[in-house]
Amino acid sequence: MVIKTALSKGRYYDSVTLMSVARQLSSSSGVSDAAAVMGTQSNKSILKASGLLVPLFETAGDTDLLIAVKAGTEALAATALARAEDLLKASKKVGAGSCEARPRSLEAALAALPGANMAVISVAGAYAAGEAMKCLEKGLHVMLFSDNVPLEAEIELKRFAAKKGLMVMGPDCGTAIINGAPLAFANVVSRGSIGIVSAAGTGLQETSCAVSNAGGGISQAIGTGGRDVKKEVGGIMFVEGLRALLHDDATKTVLLVSKPPHESVLRRIGAETRRARKPVVAVFMGADPKDVARLGVVPAVTLEEAALLAVGLSKGEKPEAVRERLALRSAELEKAAARESRGFAPGQRYLRALFSGGTFNAEAQVIFRALGVKAWSNAPVAPFAELPDSWKSREHSFVDLGEDEFTQGRPHPMIDFSVRNKRIVAEAEDPGTAVILLDVVLGHGSNMAPAADIVPALEKAFAAARKAKRRLAVVASVTGTQGDPQGKAGVEAALRKAGVLLQPSNAAASSLACGIVRRLSR
């Protein structure tokens, strides 16, 4: 093995570009490993862990570009290194557009787009808060996609913004839809009268898609980032967003999505919802619906239920009517579970849930915990235990592949399926696995060819089970709409064809998966 490296001082690329370059290099012939990163301390430690930290790199600073390739021969390594250069050059061209100006500073950007009122910031976390503050000072609302923003910085930004009547969505806000514009990882949904405030990124995507697919529409979908509803931030933007929707004439129904907010935040939410003049639906994933109902809102247990309740209420239906339809569907799912639980080998008992969306991981656990069986997760919902090793499932396991341990130096699993694909096959090879539960998330920013990327892994998984004379059930749902760049129907058809038990929502998929393993553990 030969390692070849290059260091370019003062040459900056964003991490998404660099990860895509590294990924393409890694798949070149004869290359066993590749890295393209900026020379930050944390990136250097990643390089060190993979044995690519050459002495030359140790002196590199945050603004220096580091490229390393490990290949079979000197020539292959040199070719790969040359390819890196081409890929980087091409990346600048793609982003540049043919005749667009690309301003270097905020002042120049504002001169280029007079009246700009929203900044979408996805630069490295260390710089994100500073840039966000500059934007707020110029009177722009901010969507902060970046993660790794310190908590104190988040609080400072949000307090400052609230005082100025501005919005700070995030940090770590993956998606939002403002005035119909899809921001970051958003889906193409119908416009309408339902406004969403969500502290959960995938939760916002699932509910906005479910609303749209059920014939409703979205007025605004505001993301806040998951930390907003914790004690320290105090729900500043969750409450601001709620207030804005309550005052917005185009919004007739409000939908709140979050993990259970801190009680102080709940109080602030309740103060608004109790005097609201429009219906408010809330899904606080894992919270007791009775407690949630005390806020004067219509409680929902799952994202799907919340979305359907919002659509029903916006059409003047009673919540009971919506819940009745869902109860009928549950009965159907029970029948399907009974059917699908036949034919497993004696040792096959476990559910292995592999999610790209964090909210889905929580939702599936909330549904699973009704079974009263022990389970593990790298992001456990009470009362489940933390997986000692995220990379290895044990018994019933729920894995969020978007957690840090999986995304260091790699694109998010909604973009890059490679880590989960390997895991799908590994789970299929485990004699204990009966059911694999998956999500596939469409929309802007996500993987553009999800079916083509995941189907080969599913085929391998089914083949591995067949070879061991076992049955394998794969249950999945697709979050998206037909208007998304990937087109929901085509992706669903391809998954069905591959043998997936496809469900219309993560809630339904989780119920079916739980129904199957419940019968196996008897």
């Binding site: 001082k9 003062g10 900056y12 964003d14 998404v16 600073g61 945050d62 603004t63 793609v94 982003g95 557009g97 667009e100 100006a101 690309r102 301003p103 270097r104 500073s105 905020l106 002042e107 120049a108 950007a109 787009l113 009246g115 700009a116 009122n117 929203m118 900044a119 979408v120 910031i121 996805s122 630069v123 490295a124 710089y127 500073g130 840039e131 722009l140 609302h141 996609f145 100025k164 009547g165 501005l166 919005m167 403002i178 005035n179 119909g180 514009a181 899809p182 921001l183 970051a184 958003a186 007025s219 605004q220 601001e240 967003g241 207030r243 804005a244 917005d248 185009a250 802007h444 920013g445």
Partner: protein
């Protein structure tokens, strides 16, 4: 929430370009920033520079007005030993920040050796090298002696120098005469023909030009530069128009003051060297920048210079200190037979033109040399437009036709450089890294971040101490 929902959404996208593409394809207004990290600066320094911004702005206005109002005239020629402040028989002045013989790069060593042979202090390159490293020779930056020199920028005692006067402030500035392209002393060559040319310049060119200048009287260089910018020069990598204008100004006087054959030879020499004016555009920039030094609290850059090892910067508000970092290797077009492997890190005082709002800062004025910056005139425009983001003023006299005669971006504000992470853009020639070979290409280079980071930190320290 301030009227967000009732207004058309217009997005500034900072980071992942895909988000911008998605908005555009959905029909929403969005602008993609070419975002780069700001330069490194301790938070407490950043804070004090932010808090004291009004003070800095005021100081910069004062400093940049001195720069803008400067009136550089070519008033004569003299021997370096006779006029350069601080020059002695043993002095050799060089480009860039201070440097000792043992840290000098190849081309600078070559030029020092050539200068010692030219001065008659050594007969062979070996003798010259021994003398150069003996400690007898006293080195100093041209910049600390009111002078500038391109590339190695070597000035030794018997070299003739142009004498410039800034009629506004009364200060003088000096520069050697340009030898031409190819195998020349400033690129580190010291072969016999190099020394011979220098001798001819001393014996023939110098007295002839001196006499002609006495006849013409002082020549207004600002006027020539302003015209040259309208004729396709940026007066750093392209000096064809300015050289022609100078030629027109000198020719009649030369013919009247020298024998016909000498006048012809001198005019041929000037005519054959498109860069003859470079040393004057440099000295003219030096003449107007020097008096802008020493303005308290000012973050205006008064010097950017390279010695082929270090890149050095001085600020108006930080006294005589140099702030240095490793000099980068330029992106260049190379002469046949040479590659980037042969290139020496960037060298020369010629970045004084950029410091004064010319050269790379005015590259939009020079479509003829856009092959250096990517081939299209739009690339050149973009570079100039970017430089407006880090400068304190727009020039009232130097103007760019293709930007509707907008004044060139003038007076680099070090704090803006650090905050925006936009580094000054410099046109440059490239020397071979070994002594004795000469020029191998020409191109462009971005200044390195370190000198600006250090300079900003030093200014921040002064501001903190002042309260």
């Amino acid at each position: 929430m301030k009227d967000l929902f009732s207004k058309e959404l217009k997005v500034v996208n900072m980071g992942i370009a895909g988000f911008h593409e998605a908005l555009k394809s959905s029909g929403f207004a969005s602008v993609q920033m070419d975002w780069r990290p700001p330069l490194t600066l301790p938070p407490q320094d950043r804070q004090v520079l932010g808090r004291k911004r009004p003070l800095i702005e005021k100081a910069n206005k004062k400093a940049v007005d001195i720069l803008l109002n400067g009136k550089p005239f070519l008033i004569g020629l003299e021997k370096a030993l006779d006029v350069l402040p601080g020059m002695t028989k043993d002095s050799v002045f060089h480009a860039g920040p201070p440097i000792e013989w043992k840290r000098m790069c190849g081309p600078m060593r070559g030029a020092v050796m050539g200068a010692l042979i030219y001065e008659g202090r050594a007969k062979t390159p070996e003798e010259a090298e021994e003398l150069a490293s003996s400690g007898v020779i006293k080195y100093g930056p041209c910049h600390e002696h009111s002078a500038v020199g391109p590339m190695a920028g070597i000035i030794s005692p018997s070299m003739p120098v142009f004498v410039l006067e800034n009629k506004e402030s009364g200060n003088k500035a000096y520069g050697t005469m340009n030898e031409g392209l190819g195998k020349v002393l400033r690129y580190g060559a010291y072969a016999p023909e190099v020394i011979e040319r220098l001798k001819w310049m001393e014996a023939v060119l110098y007295p002839a030009l001196k006499k002609a200048l006495a006849k013409t009287g002082p020549i207004d260089l600002k006027n020539i530069i302003a015209q040259a910018l309208n004729m396709g020069d940026e007066v750093h990598n392209r000096n064809r128009a300015a050289t022609s204008l100078l030629y027109r100004a000198l020719a009649p006087a030369l013919v009247r003051t020298s024998e016909p054959e000498i006048a012809a030879k001198v005019l041929e020499f000037v005519n054959s060297n498109d860069h003859f004016f470079l040393n004057l555009s440099m000295a003219a920039s030096k003449a107007v920048l020097d008096p802008a030094a020493g303005v308290k609290n000012s973050s205006l850059v008064t010097v950017m210079a390279r010695n082929g090892t270090d890149f050095g910067v001085r600020l108006s508000g930080t006294g005589d200190s140099w702030f240095t970092g490793p000099s980068p290797v330029p992106d260049a077009l190379f002469f046949p037979g040479f590659t980037k492997e042969d290139a020496n890190p960037d060298i020369g005082d010629s970045a004084i033109t950029e410091t004064g709002g010319l050269g790379g800062f005015a590259i939009a004025a020079s479509p003829a040399i856009v092959q250096f910056v990517g081939g299209s005139s739009k690339d050149a425009l973009d570079y100039t437009l970017q430089m407006y983001e880090i400068t304190a003023a727009e020039n009232g006299v130097y103007r760019i036709p293709s930007l509707d005669f907008r004044g060139t971006p003038t007076g680099i504000d070090c704090v803006k450089v650090v905050e925006k992470g936009i580094l000054p853009f410099i046109d440059t020639g490239v020397a071979h890294k070994k002594p004795g070979i000469g020029q191998v290409g020409a191109g462009v280079v971005s200044a390195p971040p370190e000198p600006f980071e250090k300079a900003a930190a030093a200014l921040a320290a002064k501001l903190r101490a002042a309260k």
